[in-house]
């Protein structure tokens, strides 16, 4: 019974895979349908999807990093030296 269900409605392993796939690619009609049905029956995977999307948004906002001017000056010097060394 469970095997049949998994085949029709996806296992949680496969459902979470499609949830991740969906964040990067277009799902096929069949995949969309299977995923929607799975989530209707499975709270855990519905929660997983919300949390995965949240983490993805988190990743998109953590990227800004502080840049120190000293760092830049030092980098300029290192590069200038490297260039004159190779001449």
């Amino acid at each position: 019974m469970k095997k049949l269900m998994n085949k029709l409605l996806l296992s949680c392993l496969r459902a979470t895979e499609l949830i991740e796939k969906k964040l990067h690619f277009k799902l096929s009609v069949r995949e969309k349908l299977q995923l929607r049905m799975h989530k209707m029956m499975c709270n855990a995977c519905s929660n997983y999807e919300k949390q995965s999307v949240l983490i993805d948004k988190g990743i998109s906002v953590i990227q800004e990093r502080e840049i120190s001017i000293d760092d830049i000056e030092q980098l300029k010097q290192t590069i200038a030296k490297k260039i004159s060394d190779t001449k």
Binding site: L13, I55, I62, Q63, T78, I79
Partner: protein, 185 residues
């Protein structure tokens, strides 16, 4: 008119800051970003004879840098990583159902507050750093490259299946790390 070494040291002075900001934004690792900028200028020094005085040096330098960044991604996604299936057996049973203790429950937090929360971002950053380098890069590529999955795979020469399967494992682990270090703390 060809450019020469004098131009180059002028450019180091003028463009290092912009190149570095860009590289850091694209690889989110300060040391690596510095190396990439340095390599960019060294490559420029080698090729300077070929640079035509009437083109824009900034555009030229940025195109060298961008090639180096893509090269870096390409190498990163090709890195072999071992023990990939262990992630699955941590979370799922043989039939692919969530193990009872691992079933995702509700996270009762307001999303917009969370995304502004410095501490939350710090936890997320730490969890990203805990991933194997390749996984870390893969989950960030969409934002680093600002491209969709198909474009990423094409540019980095990996198959879509390979790519989302890495992202799948990485996200399972990442979500779990965030859960343990933020929601259960």
């Amino acid at each position: 008119m060809a450019a020469d070494a004098n131009n180059l040291s002028e450019w180091v002075e003028t463009f290092t800051s912009d190149l570095y900001s860009w590289a850091l934004h694209k690889v989110s690792d300060p040391e690596l970003a510095k190396d990439l900028v340095q390599d960019t200028f060294l490559a420029a020094a080698e090729k300077i004879e070929g640079f035509r005085g009437d083109s824009n040096p900034k555009t030229w330098l940025f195109s060298i840098l961008n090639h180096k960044i893509i090269d870096f991604y390409r190498k990163r996604v090709k890195q072999p990583v071992r023990m990939e299936n262990q992630v699955f057996s941590t979370f799922f049973d043989e039939e692919g159902s969530w193990k009872f203790a691992q079933r995702p429950g509700e996270w009762n937090e307001d999303e917009s507050n969370l995304l502004d929360d410095v501490d939350f971002k710090a936890v997320l950053n730490r969890c990203l750093d805990d991933l194997p380098e390749k996984w870390n890069t893969c989950v960030q590529l969409k934002y680093l490259m600002n491209k969709n999955g198909d474009e990423i795979c094409q540019e980095l020469d990996i198959t879509p299946t390979n790519f989302w399967q890495i992202v799948h494992r990485a996200k399972l682990q990442l979500r779990n790390c965030v859960k343990e270090n933020w929601f259960e703390n």
